[in-house]
């Protein structure tokens, strides 16, 4: 545990030392700011059934931008160390491979959580100024952020996996973007082809991130989603561990 924390603190420091971190932070602030503005202008047109939280988290431009932030956040985690050769000094110290994999995953998670912190301000400011509720209930806030956390976990584990595959950060970014985009757009099938077989639509809706957000931002916390994202993350981390060991031993 101690070693995990030591590794984690280095990961966190390293991710905030890289210039990409600040580019991603700025890009993300712009994106969420724009999205918040869109949400408010939608509501200001007249009475509406959706709350600002629902409008904020359920717009397509938001999700497109959202899936773009993972590749730059995760691409360096393994690739950079492989390229620098520091993996060799790291793995010849008395640390276990799973400690390294978990520390890298959690390091990226910390950065991801930091990305989201400013967005709390939007809703606080909104409630202060307008005097209306941003969401239907506290549960809707919790639900939205819980789902973001779950989806983030899964996408970051995909990114870590991609990074363990190659020592080239650009290649890692492309692979992780493809996997995340494939997963995300497969979930949109029911929007694109309403005539698809019902079985197919059921399967698809099981992993449709957008539908999940629709539920969670209304405050409906579905435990199936917890299980789905949790187990998918575990599977990806186990695969990452294997790839990491295999690549090292093959090198």
């Amino acid at each position: 545990m101690r070693k995990f924390l030591i590794l984690l603190s280095r990961e966190v420091r390293a991710s905030f030392c890289a210039p990409t971190a600040y580019i991603v932070l700025c890009f993300f602030l712009l994106l969420t700011g724009f999205n918040f503005y869109m949400g408010i202008s939608l509501l200001s047109r007249g009475p509406s059934e959706v709350t600002v939280v629902e409008a904020f988290f359920n717009s397509i431009p938001f999700w497109i931008g959202f899936i773009l932030i993972f590749p730059p956040v995760t691409m360096r985690v393994f690739s950079e160390e492989m390229k620098l050769g520091t993996l060799e000094t790291l793995m010849t110290a008395p640390v276990r491979p799973w400690q390294v994999v978990l520390a890298k995953f959690c390091g990226a998670m910390v950065f991801y959580i930091v990305l989201w912190l400013p967005s709390f301000l939007y809703f606080i400011v909104f409630e202060q100024i307008t005097g209306t509720q941003a969401a239907q209930a506290t549960g809707a806030y919790l639900g939205s952020y819980l789902l973001l956390l779950l989806v983030g976990m899964f996408f970051i584990s995909l990114g870590c996996f991609a990074s363990a595959l190659t020592q080239d950060q650009i290649v890692a970014a492309v692979i992780s973007f493809c996997m995340i985009a494939l997963f995300f757009f497969a979930g949109l099938l029911s929007f694109f082809s309403p005539n698809a077989a019902p079985v197919l639509r059921d399967i698809v809706s099981y992993f449709s991130t957008l539908e999940h957000m629709g539920e969670f931002s209304k405050g409906i916390l579905d435990s199936r989603r917890l299980v789905f994202y949790g187990s998918a993350t575990c599977v990806m981390l186990i695969l990452t561990h294997y790839v990491f060991q295999f690549r090292r031993w093959k090198a």
Partner: protein, 312 residues
């Protein structure tokens, strides 16, 4: 301290090392030599538990490097080739981090970081970013890292590569001082360096051990083990050559003319020194002599002979 038995490492379609066997005793300082691609780094990586062997066993301080790798790694300080470091960290930060990973904590960690920084003359750069350091300093940061946990064994892969002559000398002095408390296995291409600091040498070529002995013995056992140079002016050089061969310990004489003088190069039996007899012969025959000298073979020549000797 190190025990290697039948160690083999194969990659797809390529054998990096084959059936290596050697031992390094506690307190020894051993040079690991070989041409590029001979398998030195592969062997060192296996010893440091970075790579698993295809077959065979290796152990450090009695711990198998594969099955008891955590214990083995606790007894080891390993510096890979080209000293990979994190450029965005400061020297002190890096040493603190590495020390903590190596299970040092609290006052012991502070003490060790201070000690290794002083030993490697890093005290002046502790707050510099590693990325901004010169190659010589980076090398010393790498070396300081290997020393942090005061391991019994140091494995250094080309510790002086890319340094200027002054830095090489500093690193060499440092290694020589370390030999008092640590067992050291180091690889290098700078052979005079090995002659100066290593008590024993292992020469590896194309994945196999060609020789393992003290530098002196290696040099002595060579086909071209040293020789004597004699420049004299005998009346009949060809007859003089025959007379020289009559001295028992002289194996071979080659003759070349240098103006009026004749230059004889004599190969002698290992361990013998017939210079006195030569001098007597020359004075009996009344040859004028202007040079009679002993030329020691170097480890470099031994290395070339061993690693190129059976080149196809």
């Amino acid at each position: 301290m190190i025990k290697v038995e039948n160690l083999t490492k194969r990659y797809a379609g390529f054998t990096a090392i084959e059936d290596l066997n050697f031992e390094v005793e506690k307190g020894e300082i051993v040079g690991f030599l070989g041409p590029n691609g001979a398998g030195k780094s592969t062997t060192m990586r296996i010893l440091s538990s970075y790579l698993p062997p295809t077959s065979g066993r290796a152990s450090i301080a009695g711990y198998d490097v594969f099955h008891q790798s955590m214990e083995a790694r606790r007894h080891l300080g390993y510096m890979p080739e080209n000293v990979p470091l994190y450029p965005e960290m400061r020297v002190k930060e890096y040493l603190d981090y590495r020390g903590a990973l190596k299970e040092l904590r609290g006052s012991r960690l502070r003490e060790r970081v201070g000690d290794v920084a002083a030993l490697c003359s890093l005290s002046g750069v502790m707050n510099r970013l590693i990325g901004s350091l010169s190659k010589g300093y980076r090398q010393r940061v790498g070396l300081a890292d290997t020393l942090l946990s005061s391991p019994d064994l140091l494995i250094l892969d080309e510790p002086t590569i890319g340094l200027d002559p002054n830095q090489i000398r500093q690193v060499r002095e440092l290694i020589r001082n370390l030999a008092r408390h640590h067992t050291i296995l180091l690889s290098t291409h700078i052979l005079p360096e090995v002659e100066m600091i290593c008590k024993r040498v292992i020469i590896i070529n194309r994945g196999r051990i060609e020789a393992a002995d003290t530098p002196e013995n290696l040099v002595a056992s060579m086909r071209s083990a040293g020789g004597i140079r004699l420049e004299a002016r005998p009346e009949d050089p060809a007859a003089a050559k025959e007379q020289l061969l009559s001295i028992k310990s002289i194996r071979e004489v080659s003759l070349e003319a240098a103006g009026e003088w004749s230059r004889f190069t004599l190969r002698v039996e290992p361990g013998s020194d017939p210079r006195e007899e030569l001098w007597r012969l020359a004075s009996d025959r009344r040859w004028s002599v202007r040079e009679l000298s002993w030329r020691r073979a170097t480890l470099e020549e031994a290395f070339v002979e061993l690693t190129l000797g059976d080149e196809p």
